[in-house]
């Protein structure tokens, strides 16, 4: 998809700063993510990428600045309130429920839309069962969409890492997000798993969900992103399309290196296969 200059802003960071005691992890960062785009945030290790995503999703308070999701100011909100604005995320280090099966894990993503109280459950068992049935059907659809239906009754610990990552992605989709944050989705995956994961990310995007991506793998980033923001030492050093980023001397110096430019052609969305 080509960038649409007229499209609305779905996420906006205004002069966001995060300090941990004397360390400035993110400094005066501003960025705008347009609707119906895949927006990537890249930078060297320790640049502050995960801190940014943690602040957006409410896991870390901001020291300064403001964050908006569409027209709602989400900075200052708790994580569960931000989730209620239909933002969901995955983690670099998986946070699955180990005692639950894949399907049970996925169904927890529907927590906000459940209405089963204890008394209704005791005295209106039929209604509770109907809701349970609806949840099961929705989980089955997501499992099929992600390609995990064969593993629905498996426990996460018994599955390959790639499938665990897909489970976490599926759980976040149960929330019916309008904006999905993916924190290093390709990390730890082998090449075939990576290709499979990228295909699924594209399917998710095409289903109408906007994606904010943090990733180290440049093949993934340059091939699926519409816009890229590059940060280093917590400050923005560049932003633009994949083509612009690959030509940016500051980015080449701080992150990509000359070799990357020589080995890879121009970016733009294309299939990794």
């Amino acid at each position: 998809m080509e960038n649409n200059k007229e499209s609305k802003t779905i996420l906006e960071l205004k002069n966001v700063t995060k300090r941990f005691a004397g360390l400035v992890a993110v400094k005066d960062l501003s960025l705008k993510m347009k609707e119906r785009t895949i927006h990537s945030l890249i930078g060297p290790n320790g640049a502050g990428k995960s801190t940014v995503i943690n602040m957006i999703t409410g896991l870390l308070p901001l020291t300064d600045g403001e964050i908006y999701h569409r027209d709602t100011k989400i900075s200052g909100m708790k994580a569960y309130q931000i989730a209620q604005t239909r933002c969901s995320r995955t983690f670099q280090n998986l946070k699955l429920y180990r005692s639950m099966t894949v399907k049970e894990n996925i169904m927890t993503g529907m927590m906000m839309d459940m209405h089963q109280g204890f008394l209704p459950f005791m005295f209106d068992f039929k209604k509770a069962r109907q809701e349970d049935k609806a949840m099961n059907e929705k989980a089955d659809l997501i499992l099929k969409f992600i390609g995990l239906q064969e593993l629905s009754n498996e426990y996460p610990a018994n599955m390959p890492y790639g499938k665990q990552k897909l489970t976490e992605l599926a759980r976040s989709l149960m929330l019916e997000p309008s904006l999905l944050f993916l924190d290093e989705p390709a990390a730890g995956l082998n090449p075939s798993e990576r290709v499979e994961f990228v295909d699924i990310i594209m399917k998710v995007f095409e289903s109408g969900i906007d994606i904010f991506l943090i990733e180290h793998n440049m093949d993934v980033i340059m091939n699926i992103s519409d816009d890229i923001t590059v940060i280093n030492f917590g400050s923005k050093i560049a932003e633009g399309t994949p083509e612009q980023i690959q030509e940016d001397p500051l980015v080449i110096e701080a992150y990509l290196g000359d070799r990357y430019k020589k080995e890879h052609g121009k970016g733009g969305r294309k299939c990794l296969k």
Partner: protein, 288 residues
């Protein structure tokens, strides 16, 4: 044979009490990551509230007194969660948090001593009597304990498995960060968990009133044995807590047939040490 059946019922009844204590330990541990060493004092508080205030002072009928105690203890649990458990669970080290719960226990004990006095008392006629089934005579209080504990255990299992709040509690117990990102208000959830746990403590306190005198030490041994049941069954595992409790109750009763009954408490703690040394994960913990 009748004696064996009677002993078995007594053992199961006490086992259910231990199981409920272990469940209470377990749900607080799962929700906050804290070992609540003040929970036996919650039991004490519940028993005094029921017997001392609602029945003896206010003269309420037992059923109404039970309901009032449950409501009061639920509110007490919610307040404790916001004032004590939530802040303690955020501390960087669990050691301070555990000490915090021990101190909370001391505060409750001293409050009970100040409010109701240091002298023991009992409730005449409350759950007294027995049932005769064939040639077997069973104490009424033991039958009520088994029925009530079974009802609570089944209700809790259904609550955790099928209701929104119960499912949210399971999520919080496993991963607070993930739960909050699924839209769960973790602080409220922890408060509800502590509230439910306080209600369980109150019910335990009420159920043991006919067995022990209402006095300041009435819940100390129950608290320790409940902890032992949790470890034996598999800490943090609800069905394990039930199995551990019943096993402990039955072993304790039948053990007292072999060794002098004054040593029956030792038997429970020897069993605890054996499990800690040989199978620290407990009976059911590592099954998945």
């Amino acid at each position: 044979m009748q004696v064996l059946i009677q002993l078995l019922i007594t053992g199961i009844a006490m086992g259910f009490i231990y199981a409920l204590v272990a469940i209470e330990y377990t749900i607080i541990w799962n929700a906050t990551g804290l070992l609540n060493f003040s929970h036996d004092k919650f039991i004490l508080f519940g028993a005094y509230m029921f017997a001392g205030t609602y029945v003896l002072s206010l003269g309420l009928p037992p059923v109404i007194a039970v309901l009032c105690t449950i409501i009061t203890m639920f509110l007490f649990g919610i307040v404790s969660a916001f004032v004590i458990f939530n802040p303690l669970s955020r501390l960087s080290t669990n050691l301070f948090a555990v000490i915090g719960t021990v101190i909370l226990g001391r505060i409750i004990t001293e409050a009970v001593r100040l409010i109701w006095g240091p002298l023991p008392f009992s409730l005449d006629g409350f759950l007294k009597g027995s049932y005769k089934i064939g040639s077997v005579v069973v104490s009424r209080s033991h039958v009520i304990i088994i029925l009530v504990c079974t009802l609570i255990t089944v209700s809790l299992q259904l609550f955790f498995k099928f209701t929104k709040t119960g499912k949210a509690m399971r999520c919080v117990s496993e991963n607070k960060t993930a739960a909050s990102l699924m839209g769960v208000n973790v602080s409220i959830n922890i408060a509800l968990t502590v509230g439910i746990s306080a209600v369980i403590c109150a019910i335990i306190g009420i159920l043991v009133v006919p067995i022990f005198n209402v006095e300041l030490q009435m819940s100390s041994m129950i608290g320790l044995k409940g902890f032992a049941s949790g470890v034996i069954g598999g800490f943090g595992h609800l069905p394990g807590a039930i199995l551990g409790g019943i096993l402990l109750g039955v072993v304790e009763i039948f053990g007292s047939m072999i060794i002098p009954s004054v040593y029956k408490d030792c038997l429970s703690f020897i069993l605890l040490i054996i499990f800690l040394l040989i199978k620290p994960s407990g009976l059911l913990r590592d099954r998945k």
